[in-house]
C-alpha cells in the first residue's frame, strides 16, 4: 500500500461519506457544510494528482466564495429542516436499488474503459507557469468570454434580487 493509495482511499472515502451526508441530512445548512467537506476532500485529491494550482483555486473560489454565497442565502431565507417523509413504495423498493445499480454500473464501466490505457504521465514539479501560459495564450478568447459571463451574472443577480422601491 503506497502512500498515494492510502491517501486516495482516505480522502475518497471522506468525499463519498460527505456526499451521502449531503443527501441524508435534513437541514440545508448541514448539507452545505457536507458539500464544503466534499470540495475540500476533492482539493486534496487534486493535490495528489499534481494539480496544485487547481486545488488552491478550488478552495479559494469554490469552497471559499461560492459556498459562502450558498450559506448566506440559506441563512437569510431562514431555511428550515425538511420534514421526514417516508419514501413512496415505488421509490423505496424500485428507485433506490435502481439508482445504486446504475451508479455501480457506471463506475464499473468507467473503470474498465480507462484501465485499458493505463499510461500515467510523470508529474511536473511546477505546474503554474505552463498552466498560465496555456490559459493566456491558447485559451485567451474563452478567458475573456468568461469575464463577460461573470459580468452578465453580476448584473442578472443584482436586477433579480433587487427590492422594489
Amino acid at each position: 500500500m503506497t502512500l498515494d493509495a492510502v491517501l486516495f482511499f482516505v480522502f475518497g472515502g471522506i468525499a463519498v461519506a460527505a456526499a451521502v451526508a449531503l443527501i441524508l441530512l435534513r437541514h440545508p445548512i448541514h448539507s452545505a457544510l457536507a458539500l464544503i467537506v466534499v470540495m475540500a476532500a476533492l482539493a486534496v485529491l487534486y493535490l495528489l494528482q499534481g494539480a496544485e494550482f487547481v486545488a488552491a483555486v478550488q478552495i479559494i473560489v469554490y469552497a471559499g466564495a461560492i459556498m459562502v454565497l450558498f450559506v448566506f442565502v440559506i441563512m437569510l431565507l431562514n431555511a428550515a429542516r425538511e420534514e421526514r417523509t417516508n419514501l413512496s413504495r415505488a421509490a423505496r423498493y424500485l428507485g433506490v436499488p435502481v439508482a445504486v445499480l446504475l451508479t455501480a454500473e457506471l463506475a464499473y464501466l468507467v473503470w474498465h474503459a480507462s484501465s485499458a490505457n493505463p499510461s500515467q504521465a510523470a508529474g511536473r514539479t511546477d505546474v503554474t507557469r505552463p498552466l498560465a501560459l496555456m490559459l493566456f495564450r491558447d485559451f485567451v478568447f474563452p478567458f475573456e468570454l468568461t469575464s463577460i459571463v461573470i459580468l452578465i451574472a453580476i448584473l442578472g443577480a443584482l436586477v433579480l434580487a433587487r427590492k422594489e422601491p
Partner: protein
C-alpha cells in the same frame, strides 16, 4: 494511482449528485446537488489531464469553476425571488405557472 480509480470515484460522486437532485425537496439542496455533479466532472477532468499528460484538462476545470460561480449567483437570485413569492422553499409548491 491509475486514473481509473479517480474516474470511478467521479462516477460515484456524480451518481450521488443525481440521487440528491431527484430525491430532495428543498430548492437549495437540489442546487447543491448540481454543484456536487459539477465537482465530480472536475475530478474526472483532472484525472484525464493527468493520464494524458496534457494541461488542457486543468484549464477546462478553471472554466467549469467560473461558470459554476456565475450560475450559482444567478440561480440563488432566482431562488430568492421564488422564496419571496411563494413563501416556501419546497419544490412541490412551485409546480404551477400561475402565481
Amino acid at each position: 494511482m491509475p486514473a481509473s480509480w479517480y474516474l470511478a470515484l467521479s462516477a460515484i460522486l456524480f451518481g450521488l449528485g443525481v440521487v440528491g437532485f431527484v430525491f430532495k425537496r428543498n430548492i437549495i439542496t437540489i442546487f447543491m446537488s448540481i454543484e456536487l455533479m459539477l465537482n465530480a466532472v472536475n475530478l474526472a477532468l483532472v484525472a484525464f489531464s493527468r493520464q494524458l499528460g496534457e494541461l488542457q484538462g486543468q484549464v477546462f476545470v478553471f472554466f467549469v469553476i467560473v461558470v459554476a460561480a456565475a450560475e450559482a449567483a444567478v440561480g440563488l437570485a432566482i431562488i430568492l425571488l421564488i422564496a419571496r413569492n411563494r413563501q416556501s422553499l419546497n419544490v412541490e409548491d412551485v409546480d404551477l405557472l400561475k402565481l
